[in-house]
């Protein structure tokens, strides 16, 4: 009996009779005359800050992470804050502020849903598009952590900011689960009016830590 796999492959084979048998897919033959980057020589940190803010994320640049994080938390006053494993301890403000939750042992979805906020690092950021990319690495935790709480505070080291999409993809490891985040969740489904916040966090704050701070001892 022929399987559907064989059927489909046979159909494809007979559909492509115009393709010479000797022809092979050649990635190098594809013209890629587009730019490697649209950052246009801009300062990538400034560009990222501006573009992320365009999505109505609140962006702060700082040389001292604990101060900026404490200020953001004082503004938003989440009742509780998930802090994933591997979040640099030296970035955390002194005790006080929201109740801190660790995902160890893993929080249930109910507990995640009940948490008010989450504080994470990221893997890469993209200047031209104002995008954060999380890869579930240290300080980020599994994907659900940055999804269910209504408030997401993300800390980016300036060195993590790639100029544009191509560079960002090269820096990422596709074997890890990747989440590209460009502003708070949004919908334009009702008369095309943009409404921030449907299922993902409705508030997104970004703190960019600039290089005069000694880089924390985590991998890039």
């Amino acid at each position: 009996m022929t399987t559907s796999r064989e059927t489909i492959l046979a159909r494809i084979g007979s559909a492509l009779t115009d393709v010479p048998k000797t022809e092979r897919y050649d990635a190098a033959a594809i013209s890629r005359d587009y730019r490697a980057s649209h950052a246009g020589g801009h300062d990538v940190t400034a560009l990222f800050a501006e573009r992320a803010a365009d999505y109505r994320a609140t962006v702060t640049r700082t040389v001292h992470a604990p101060t900026a994080i404490a200020a953001a938390l004082a503004e938003r006053v989440p009742a509780s804050l998930i802090i994933p494993d591997g979040f640099p301890a030296q970035w955390l403000p002194d005790e006080g502020g929201p109740r801190r939750l660790a995902d160890r042992p893993p929080l249930s979805v109910r507990e995640l849903d009940a948490a008010a906020g989450v504080l994470t690092t990221c893997a890469v950021a993209i200047a031209v598009t104002g995008t954060l990319v999380l890869d579930a690495g240290p300080g980020q935790g599994r994907r659900a952590l940055s999804l269910l709480p209504d408030y997401h505070l993300c800390v980016v080291r300036a060195a993590q900011i790639a100029e544009d999409v191509p560079e960002a993809l090269r820096r990422l490891n596709p074997r890890r689960p990747l989440t590209f985040i460009s502003g708070p969740s949004a919908t334009s489904d009702i008369e095309l009016e943009r409404v921030e916040g449907v299922h993902g966090p409705r508030t997104l704050d970004i703190v960019i830590v600039e290089p005069t701070t000694p880089a924390p001892g985590e991998a890039a």
Binding site: I12, A15, P174, G200
Partner: protein, 488 residues
């Protein structure tokens, strides 16, 4: 509870042919106002977002080249994808047609013992009528995109690829939520107004329970990289992230044409797709996953590779390019016919210019013979398309096929010769601007000569409404160049 809002298949059963459906849609002034406002807004945003990249043309050229080269070796890339996905813990299934895909998904859901699934926008599952098939097996599928939710609660059909409820105004949405949400789960809050913010909030809390409880998700896919086995879903609301992250089992139904040779190719499409569809530099969320990851997300991942007419489309060397479509919906938003008729008139989950070429190819020209005529051949869709699908060229080609089919493929009729001549014209260099002039001219000529009136039933009726909007004297490209010199 009513769960059968659409009848399955590429062509919705019982849908009138385009001319009849279009006539009643055109007569609906509220629909037209909604549509004009919506497509106008989105069009301006798209133009601005594309203009921001001075190498937009080069990106389009690369995207078209990748898609076309991939399709020429589709079997090779699919086998590679299968190998990569399998290597990272996923299971690949092949479905030759809609019925088989539905059987596979139903069996996979049954094996989990669950009777509910959450779904994130997937045109492929609309195309195969998955919700109805699951309902028949006692499984309820919950749509989770805001617009799909509106459509599902209302027992309606989507009318736009990106904004399926584009035909509904806020007051109507409030009524739908108030009347129907309770039947499906958590009811709408007391005192719900028609403020979009409140409506979004109502959807958030209605669906949150489903996300937290449901153990199985069904998704579509925007892209899948053959070299790494990475699958990508591009979205805005976060319902995609919910479906891709919280359930234990994830079933992704993907048309075979979505495969890309490599993860690196995403650099082209992630730049083109958001700017072309919502006019944003980047959509709020894109999720990419490669198989399963212990302790993070679904424990089981199934990828269903769907043919359902795609290999037949591949066979047609002119129509083949249609398979490069990344479903951005830019062509809908620029189409003068779509703006007047809306999506339902196309009688298929794929509306607008892309639907006019894709539906007849997937379903067979004879089953959607009026669709290739649902265009003025103005060329705006080609100009907007981020993967440079020459929709006018395919339309003219399919018209010839529709005419042949109507004649039983025997003696060529004068009109089939005319269409074939046009197809030849389109194949010559400088074809676009020429084709536009020829198209605008041709439609007037054909109408005047009454050729269309000799076509079979539906085509005959189409000719009545076809004359109503006068073909533009100035082509879209000419107008474009005149009014926006800064945009190439």
């Amino acid at each position: 509870m009513s769960g059968t809002h659409t009848s399955g298949g590429v062509v919705w059963l019982g849908s009138p042919a385009f001319p009849e459906a279009a006539r009643s849609a055109v007569a609906d002034t509220r629909l037209r106002t909604n549509l004009r406002k919506a497509t106008g807004t989105i069009r301006d945003k798209r133009v601005a977002a594309a203009a921001e990249l001075d190498d937009w043309e080069e990106l389009r050229t690369a995207a078209a080249a990748i898609k076309r080269a991939t399709l020429r070796h589709l079997d090779h890339h699919l086998l590679r994808l299968e190998e990569s996905v399998t290597a990272v813990g996923g299971t690949v299934h092949w479905a030759a047609d809609a019925a088989e895909a539905n059987r596979i998904v139903t069996r996979l859901v049954r094996a989990t013992g669950e009777t509910e699934v959450v779904k994130v926008k997937s045109m492929a599952t609309q195309e195969i009528g998955l919700n109805e098939a699951l309902a028949a097996a006692g499984i309820t599928a919950y749509e989770t995109d805001l617009a799909e939710l509106i459509v599902q609660l209302d027992d309606d059909r989507p009318s736009h690829i990106l904004v399926p409820a584009i035909h509904r105004g806020r007051a109507e949405i409030r009524e739908i939520f108030r009347e129907r949400m309770g039947e499906w789960g958590k009811p709408a809050p007391e005192g719900l107004t028609d403020d979009p913010r409140q409506l979004a909030e109502a959807a958030r809390s209605h669906l949150r329970e489903k996300f937290l409880n449901t153990k199985v998700a069904v998704s579509g896919a925007n892209f899948a990289a053959a070299d790494t086995g990475t699958v990508a879903v591009v979205e805005s609301e976060g319902n995609g992230r919910m479906c891709l992250t919280l359930p234990e089992t994830l079933i992704t139904v993907m048309g075979i044409e979505k495969v890309l040779p490599s993860f690196a190719d995403l650099e082209v499409f992630l730049q083109l797709l958001p700017r072309s569809s919502t006019g944003e530099r980047m959509n709020p969320y894109t999720s990419m996953w490669t198989g399963t990851v212990p302790g993070d997300g679904p424990r089981a991942f199934h990828l269903v590779l769907l043919d359902n007419g795609r290999t037949a489309t591949l066979r047609d060397t002119v129509g083949r390019q249609t398979l490069g479509c990344i479903r951005c919906s830019a062509c809908l938003n620029v189409c003068p016919v779509y703006e007047r008729t809306g999506g339902h008139a196309y009688g298929s989950p794929y509306p607008g210019p892309i639907g006019a070429v894709l539906t007849p190819q997937l379903a067979g020209v004879e089953r959607a013979a009026s669709l290739p005529f649902a265009s003025t051949l103005c060329g705006a869709c080609y100009d907007a398309c981020p993967v440079k699908i020459d929709i006018p060229e395919v339309l003219v080609h399919l018209r010839a096929r529709a005419v042949d089919a109507a004649r039983g493929g025997s003696l060529p009729t004068p009109e089939s010769l005319a269409m074939k001549a046009a197809a030849l014209t389109l194949a010559t260099p400088r074809r676009l601007s020429f084709a536009q002039r020829a198209g605008a001219l041709g439609s007037r000529l054909l109408a005047r000569r009454g050729v269309l009136r000799r076509l079979p039933g539906p085509l005959h009726r189409w000719s009545d409404t076809r004359d109503t909007p006068a073909p533009p004297r100035e082509t879209f490209r000419a107008w474009w160049r005149r009014t926006r010199p800064e945009n190439q």
